[in-house]
């Protein structure tokens, strides 16, 4: 058997792909957080809960309406995005001009409400969501056997990340968004409806989280705690990467996933904590984050 540093190569490949899959979720979620923070100056603590809601909407679409996975990939983010728009209009909007910390506390409260309601309805163990037929089964790459669904998650997440990056960096809408991030009053003076832009940005960021939720639905069970388990790691990702750069968020997310996968191979006990260790190291060496600008 081929080994690398005393570990079977196949184990290494397996954990690396799993790491890439986790990294895909970190990247998608921290990307949404960064986009929202850029314009709203709010750290969206409800991001994990909305990710979970995306998975549950996909499950509900299938169970009650018979709408399958592929349609859910589009419909669920739209539904959760609309919910996000309502949330922004009704609650978050009222905090403009206040200390950033209130936004964090408000969205924390939203996360508690959403998760509590879902736990009441579905219990802590959650429900099962099948892998769509076309993505079942293994993919033989010659040097390793890869579950097809994992490959799909990495590809879909990467595609979505790149699309978001292109939208923000290369389109006119993205240019307006970046301008508003830099100086909202000035952009407003040019006749752009900034409050609407803010609402739509929140909706889009939330939709990204829901998209990740649909991707995650067939991986494990769809359960009310799936978001809160993830959100703390995503916060660490954001601290490590800094929220200044879109590409930075993507790279950091995937990078951390891979590091986590490698840790599972070489030091399994430390895999749950390795992201935080990386965070500590980055804080010591580059306090502003890898891609961040000093405040």
């Amino acid at each position: 058997m081929v080994t690398i540093f005393g570990k079977p190569l196949l184990l290494l490949y397996g954990q690396l792909t799993l790491g890439l899959v986790n990294g895909a979720f970190y990247a998608l979620l921290s990307l949404g957080l960064a986009v929202i923070f850029g314009l709203l100056n709010v750290i969206n603590f409800a991001h994990g809960a909305l990710f979970m809601l995306g998975a549950f909407v996909a499950w509900g679409l299938l169970t009650y309406l018979g709408i399958g996975y592929w349609a859910a990939l589009i419909v669920a983010p739209c539904v959760v995005g609309l919910f996000g728009v309502a949330l922004e209009r009704v609650l978050i909007k009222r905090l403009r001009g206040l200390d950033h910390l209130y936004g964090l506390l408000l969205t924390f409260g939203c996360a508690l409400v959403i998760e509590g309601l879902m736990r009441n309805e579905f219990g802590s163990s959650g429900v099962a969501y099948d892998i769509p037929h076309a993505l079942k089964g293994p993919l033989n790459l010659g040097f390793m056997v890869l579950p097809l669904y994992r490959a799909w998650v990495v590809i879909a997440a990467t595609g979505m990340c790149l699309a978001t990056w292109l939208l923000i960096e290369k389109t006119r809408l993205g240019a307006t968004l970046r301008a508003a991030t830099e100086n909202a009053p000035l952009v407003q003076a040019f006749g752009v409806d900034v409050p609407r832009l803010v609402t739509l940005t929140y909706g889009a960021g939330v939709a990204l989280a829901a998209f990740a939720g649909v991707l995650a639905a067939p991986m494990n069970s769809v359960n009310p705690n799936m978001g809160s388990n993830l959100i703390v790691v995503v916060f660490a990702t954001v601290v490590i990467g800094g929220m200044g750069s879109i590409l930075g968020s993507i790279v950091t997310g995937f990078g951390l996933g891979i590091i986590e996968g490698l840790t599972k191979v070489y030091y399994p006990e430390g895999s749950a904590a390795v992201v935080y260790v990386v965070m500590v190291i980055v804080l010591l060496l580059r306090p502003a984050g890898l891609f961040g600008r000093a405040a």
Partner: protein
């Protein structure tokens, strides 16, 4: 009155002491002790958010570690009550020293996220370390005798000890806030760059405040583990960090008495809603939203504002 209390605060303090004295006759003493432990925990947290403007989202780490350490030394080493609780506070303060040193490198929202992430590290440590007992926690912790001689088996005996610890911690926090050191903390909260330009070593002040807060949180957690006779992962997990924020927000951030009132409301809410399962979480979230949208001063802050008093 000396000690930095205004007249209104002195009246409120007398009322608080009176409530503490009559409370065990009115409610179940264990409930009263739980509220006192939470009250000290929230007051310690308030020292940071209320007087330095630092939002720590990881205070469960110090509270929970304090609980584990006190439970461990009381059960395994057979230490007396005051030593076990002090040991819990010392470890809480030590963890706070390391985490505070790391977290004060960033400001605002990043500070909050870093404290949360570091606290989660402690949580994972506690799930795996052998001394914490993993998922089971440390069970059947004996109530250690005070100074090794005064038995604490009776609820009322323990109640007076917990009340004493609470009052000592509460007065210490009041003293800190009203000392020259506390004035500098408030200056940092109001305008950090100006405090720096006035020549204050802002990071040293922040770190010392952080360590004091973590120490007192550790004391509170240690006291709680003595009251209930166990230490589990619940006290070290992130929902506990959220709950202490809620107590402080509800009672009034930056008021001396607010966190105590918040802890009482929270304790009552948790106890009376306990049969309804996850509705506790839902109502906590709803209170968070309500407080942030409409009630940012909290109960005591609002009261003080109406009466034009600093409470």
């Amino acid at each position: 009155m000396s000690f930095g209390f205004s007249r209104a605060q002195a009246v409120a303090l007398v009322a608080l002491v009176a409530v503490i004295i009559v409370a065990p006759g009115l409610v179940y003493p264990v409930f009263a002790m739980k509220v006192l432990c939470f009250g000290l925990f929230a007051s310690a947290f308030n020292l940071l958010i209320g007087y330095v403007g630092l939002l720590s989202l990881g205070h469960a780490a110090y509270f929970g570690m304090g609980g584990y350490v006190a439970a461990y030394v009381a059960k395994t080493w057979g230490l007396s009550a005051e030593l076990a609780i002090l040991a819990g506070g010392a470890v809480g303060g030590l963890v706070g020293l390391v985490f505070g040193w790391l977290a004060i490198r960033r400001q605002g929202i990043y500070f909050a996220m870093i404290t949360l992430a570091l606290a989660q590290m402690i949580y994972f440590f506690c799930t795996q370390a052998s001394f914490t007992g993993g998922e089971d926690g440390i069970q059947q912790v004996p109530r250690a005798p005070l100074f090794g001689v005064v038995s604490m088996q009776d609820d009322m005996a323990l109640y007076w000890l917990i009340a004493g610890i609470f009052l000592a911690g509460f007065l210490l926090i009041h003293r800190i806030v009203h000392s020259p050191f506390g004035q500098v903390l408030k200056a940092i909260r109001e305008n950090e760059p100006r405090a720096i330009s006035l020549g204050y070593r802002v990071d040293d002040y922040k770190l010392l405040a952080f360590v004091l807060s973590a120490f007192l949180a550790g004391i509170a957690g240690a006291a709680k583990s003595q009251v209930f006779g166990f230490a589990t992962l619940t006290d070290v997990d992130w929902p506990m960090s959220g709950e202490v924020v809620l107590m402080t927000l509800l009672g009034g951030i930056g008021t001396i008495f607010g966190p105590v009132v918040g802890a009482l409301m929270f304790g009552a809410l948790e106890t009376y809603l306990a049969p309804f399962g996850d509705w506790v979480t839902v109502s906590q979230g709803a209170i968070f939203i309500l407080c942030v949208i409409a009630f940012r001063r909290g109960i005591v802050g609002e009261l003080g504002n109406r009466l034009r008093l600093v409470l």
